[in-house]
């Protein structure tokens, strides 16, 4: 039953809707215990990819294995081991969070304690309120709770913090980090760069149905090896130089400046952020 391979392995995964090609053959491998981010603009194919992995859509081509199962077969056994936070998942208007969690918990072989999940989601005060009276943020936390109540090994989070205020967002991040510490595997789609940078062990940047780059956020992209050194030169112009060896460049700059008895004004050394990489990769040619 338990299988030793990666949590997810997809090769040459493609999806067509009629003439429209949503995924043009992507390869994804998600290791167990990893937080994997799928980052990309709207319409890039993120949700299509995730919904194929979740078993909602059938692929047009390629091979997919999720916890050793083919998700297209939609086996109950696989669904018992995954948790899904949908972008558009609703709930009955007249159910309370406690009832919903009890109802969902009963579908799983080893559910988490319902009261504990209510507390984790911060819904203690609203546990017996009708869902229709909950705020958008509270409903989103209920989404989270429903995905976690079955104690799944693998959790899909599709834009989990969209619409959250900064405080709720931080809290969601903490929850995701604590899940990671429990050894859960998490697949996260987001269009927030800071979210991917803060949470993901590895990120795939996806656009027009293709993966443009994949790797840890810090090492991602074509400029990854470069440092960016910026300063104001003697004429007051802002200079930006890229280098693989900032030590030598800084030595050169500071030596010259000291020789002239000046300071290097507004000196900064930086690495390209995920945002730089993302903007560079997803810019329309």
């Amino acid at each position: 039953m338990s299988h030793a391979g990666p949590a997810i392995e997809a090769t040459a995964l493609s999806k067509r809707y009629g003439d429209y090609v949503a995924l043009r053959g992507i390869d994804i491998r998600v290791e167990r215990g990893e937080v994997f981010g799928l980052l990309g603009p709207n319409g890039a194919g993120k949700t299509t990819a995730v919904e194929i992995l979740e078993g909602y859509r059938e692929r047009s081509g390629g091979e997919v294995s999720v916890l050793g199962f083919d998700p297209a077969e939609r086996s109950i056994e696989l669904r018992r081991r995954i948790g899904i936070v949908l972008q558009s998942g609703g709930i009955y208007s007249h159910i309370t969070p406690r009832e919903a969690l009890r109802h969902w918990a009963a579908m799983y072989p080893h559910p988490r304690d319902v009261e504990e999940v209510i507390a984790l989601a911060g819904l203690e005060d609203r546990a017996d309120a009708r869902a229709r009276t909950l705020s958008g943020g509270q409903l989103r936390r209920l989404d989270f709770a429903l995905a976690l109540v079955g104690d799944p090994e693998l959790i899909f989070l599709d834009e989990p913090t969209t619409g959250f205020d900064p405080e709720a967002r931080r809290a969601a991040w903490e929850t995701i980090r604590s899940l990671r510490e429990l050894g859960k595997t998490i697949v996260l789609t987001t269009h927030y760069l800071d979210e991917a940078q803060a949470l993901a062990d590895r990120v795939a940047i996806i656009k027009d149905g293709r993966i443009l780059a994949i790797g840890p956020p810090r090492e991602l992209g074509p400029g990854a090896a470069h440092y960016r050194v910026a300063y104001r030169d003697g004429d007051g112009a802002l200079v930006e130089r890229e280098t693989d060896d900032p030590t030598a460049l800084l030595h050169e700059l500071t030596t010259e400046a000291l020789a002239r008895g000046e300071r290097v004004q507004e000196l900064s050394v930086g690495r390209p952020t995920l945002e730089d990489v993302y903007l560079e990769l997803t810019a329309d040619a």
């Binding site: 949908l86 558009s88 998942g89 007249h94 159910i95 079955g150």
Partner: protein, 249 residues
């Protein structure tokens, strides 16, 4: 007990609870037909013949309202809200889910028939149904057929806002033509043909035989066949066109 049955039972209990918590749904399901029965009954109370026609007609309409109408509304609402999609992602067998949902509709239909029978007896002094087995057969086949047709029809409804328009476009004409043809022996031939081909009039015939006239099942096999054919048609399109999520707006 097999796990699928346990989960189906839990789904049924949840559906019941949700049903009672939605006062407008409960009202439309129970109070409206009862008011209709009482109102029409008061007008017709002088004529036993009319009352004999009214009670099975209302009973059949109640079956259609609790299954066809209620399920069309429910499926469109749950689909639009994303509840169906969430359920699809949970480890709940489809059979358990639809079993629970169908059992909920059956419960409402059975409660309705019971209310109509009791009301007919207490308000209008009608007898108890003469053929319980025949009543049971027609209620079961009618419920399955109209429930399947309701789910199939939901596929044609683009969004929740337009559900009332779509449902009434079917419900009201079907009720009107079926009631008229059942009541009037002088109905034009083409209307009679239409009414006999639709599932409601055959259901009224069957219920009338069981509840009022005492004409037994053997005399209503053609009516039963018409309802069953509609049921097969409904099941085919309910399954084929089933969509777990909103694709149009």
């Amino acid at each position: 007990m097999p796990e699928g049955v346990v989960l189906g039972w839990r789904q049924y209990r949840l559906e019941r609870r949700m049903f009672w918590r939605n006062p407008s749904a409960a009202f439309f399901n129970f109070v409206l037909p009862l008011l209709f029965l009482a109102g029409a009954g008061a007008i017709l109370s002088g004529s036993q013949r009319d009352l004999d026609k009214l009670v099975p007609s209302i009973a059949a309409m109640a079956v259609m309202a609790t299954t066809f109408t209620a399920l069309a509304y429910n499926v469109v609402f749950l689909r639009e809200r994303g509840v169906l999609k969430r359920i699809r992602g949970a480890p709940l067998p489809s059979g358990s889910y639809f079993g629970g949902v169908a059992a909920n509709a059956v419960t409402n239909a059975v409660l309705q028939i019971a209310i109509v029978i009791l009301a007919g007896r207490t308000l209008f002094g009608l007898d108890w149904p003469l053929h319980w087995a025949e009543l049971l057969v027609f209620v079961i086949v009618g419920v399955i057929a109209f429930a399947a047709l309701g789910v199939a029809f939901a596929h044609l409804i683009p969004n929740f806002e337009s559900t009332a328009a779509y449902v009434n476009l079917v419900f009201l004409p079907v009720v009107a033509v079926s009631f008229y043809v059942f009541d009037s022996s002088s109905a034009p031939g083409f209307l009679r043909t239409i009414a006999e081909a639709l599932p409601l009039k055959p259901l009224i015939d069957g219920l009338s035989g069981a509840m009022v006239t005492g004409s037994d099942l053997g005399n209503h096999l053609d009516a039963l066949a018409v309802i069953a054919l509609w049921g097969l048609f409904g099941i085919f399109f309910a399954v084929r066109g089933y969509s777990w999520e909103q694709t149009r707006t």
